[in-house]
Symmetry: C2
């Protein structure tokens, strides 16, 4: 990555990522030269249409789906709302979903399943929450705060068993598994058949792609209803002139993220593990949250009990280290993170927690620099608290 | 405008516009360097938040509204769907609205008012369609196919009279006037108080701004409900990470469009009037549709009865002239334009009609070249038909 802010030590890749230069280069022609409306009849517009269709095809291939199962949206939140808009019936979600899933679920009859102390959704809990009228189960691929990777394949097995049961009993109610995979793409496998999902949400802005671009993949058997009606674009499921530049950039971002996922995950895990080890060595009382066996490679959620994480974030920022407390959404509203409440973290630990998320802007040198600064600043705060 | 396709004679500005280089320059920093999530707490993110808030302020000022009355969306179709999503009750729309308005209206009890032969909505017709339970009247600023500018101020007077009547009768049902101003910004005044509207939709992609960006302005007394729920951004009315680059680009586009509107309208009207005069001189049987006294300056809808406009568009394209038949949306589906049906244009004339829309890529030289080519190609087709 070539970002012109080398002076910053950016440890908040789960909140936002800079656009990959390959992504930007692929989008650039569509800003000015190839600006045509893909619905216009003349050749330059037909070329824009082809570029769009090609991008959708590439997006689909990257996740193992088909182009006509992909709807390009303005981001993960819209994608999530779209899959929920197609539902009439009961839905099951976990307590640690993104607010978009939780709020969309509240528009339906719903059950929220709890998680264990590591933030993992238990497939038995999902099985127990499914009712005869449950139409949608929506479980994230990985948690944005803790990095915990959810056991989607096990949950998919539960959903398939229920589908089988209904088929055998002659019940017509469908049941789908949707996953919000906003976090994790670029680090773990997101092939839809291997995940076992019927619908998947992706967010380009979290994978070095264009912001305000996302997709909903939904297998052809999933019933969808449009949120946004009009000219009938995207098979009537998302009206409005198609986002040619956005789709083209997203395709490049997703392909690059998928291609380099395994290597990048190894690289980040090494950096993250070193950070974690050194921080725990310096602060034995610190608490690492999340599922340490099933966790996104770049994620480290660590609490320093007694410290005020908001103060710490500002002290770190003064030293050029950018890091998060809780999620961006929750942070916005001065409320305690619903994820940390769900895992039962004590208020004292929750209030002293940092979310460190590594990514392409991270390397050994920046990671070591950031570590030294974090250690200094936590010590500084601990000294201040003792006075 | 500096678009690298000088070889093309682009006469389809109502379908799409290339991004203004000032717009792109303003957006560029937010693609890579200033990529931060505006909800993050550290200073660079707070700067992104400020840039976003500043852009919303500038968007609001450009139309005479307030920043907290503006919701940035992914385009006009979403804006229109959003204003309709807030409605419980009857709606009144015209027969020549964009499909986004017509389809959104179909989700409610609705009345579609006809237009006259020039495509003008008559305020008396609107008055006649309003019922005691009418909550929303949605009439476009100008028609995308004909260029006819609607008498919004007269319609606003009708809506205000109804509001007054209800207030005096102690009726609590509100009534709002919304206008889809996707067409017309950059050529005519779009100050919300002067238009007399309660809500306004704008589309950045039609005014040399970024595509997939729009806004809904709604006065504070208008009740809205979110289409898209989640993290609670945009006062809970449109969740999802804010589109910093898009809002910043849109603000520049709207400011430039507004600043140059009067001069640009004069310039385009002169070019358009010459085109119209010369085409009518060459083809006395041609029919110009739309309201010639109240029409967007760059618009010319002209029919050559007996000609197949789809063939003509392809012949013109081969000569580098890019022009539309009907609207992009309708063209997509091989159906006859609902607008041309609404004005009662004969099928023969409708099928032979071109929509010529001039804009920033137009000048005297390109306009004269295009004219000569159109005359040649229409003659060529007329000869072919005679054989």
């Amino acid at each position: 990555m070539n970002v012109k802010k080398p002076e910053l030590l950016y440890l908040d890749h789960a909140a936002a990522t800079p656009m990959d230069e390959h992504v930007l280069a692929a989008m650039q022609p569509f800003f000015q030269d190839e600006f045509f409306n893909p619905s216009s009849p003349y050749a330059p517009a037909v070329q824009a249409r082809r570029a769009y269709d090609d991008a959708k095809h590439r997006l689909a291939v990257a996740i193992g789906g088909k182009a006509d199962e992909v709807i390009v949206t303005a981001g993960a939140t819209e994608s999530i709302n779209l899959v929920f808009a197609g539902i009439t019936g009961h839905v099951v979600v976990s307590a640690v979903e993104h607010p978009a899933v939780l709020e969309a679920a509240r528009r339906h009859e719903h059950t929220i399943v709890p998680v264990d102390a590591k933030g993992s959704v238990l497939s038995e809990a999902v099985a127990g929450a499914i009712r005869p009228d449950t139409v949608l189960v929506s479980i994230q691929l990985a948690n944005n705060e803790l990095g915990t990777i959810q056991p989607l394949r096990e949950i998919a097995t539960v959903v398939k068993a229920e589908r089988q049961r209904r088929a055998e009993g002659g019940e017509a109610t469908p049941i789908y598994l949707h996953s919000d995979a906003s976090q994790g793409a670029g680090q773990i496998d997101i092939h839809v058949a291997r995940l076992g999902v019927d619908a998947l949400t992706l967010n380009a802005g979290k994978m070095y792609g264009p912001k305000q671009v996302g997709l909903l993949w939904a297998a052809s058997h999933v019933t969808l209803s449009p949120l946004i009606v009009g000219g009938g674009q995207e098979r009537g499921l998302r009206s409005g002139t198609e986002n040619v530049a956005g789709a083209v950039g997203f395709a490049v971002a997703l392909e690059r993220a998928s291609r380099h996922a395994a290597g990048e995950a190894r690289r980040l895990a090494q950096l993250r593990d070193t950070l974690q080890r050194e921080l725990l060595a310096a602060f034995p009382e610190a608490v690492v949250s999340g599922n340490q066996k099933k966790r996104l490679a770049g994620h480290l959620h660590i609490s320093f009990p007694g410290i005020d994480a908001e103060r710490l974030v500002f002290l770190l920022e003064a030293k050029r280290v950018l890091v998060a407390t809780g999620s961006a959404c929750a942070a916005n509203k001065n409320t305690r993170s619903h994820v940390l409440e769900a895992i039962g973290l004590s208020p004292e630990a929750a209030d002293g927690s940092l979310r460190i998320t590594l990514g392409r802007l991270s390397n050994e040198a920046t990671s070591a620099q950031a570590l030294a600064i974090i250690v200094d600043m936590v010590r500084f705060e601990q000294q201040r608290m003792k006075k």
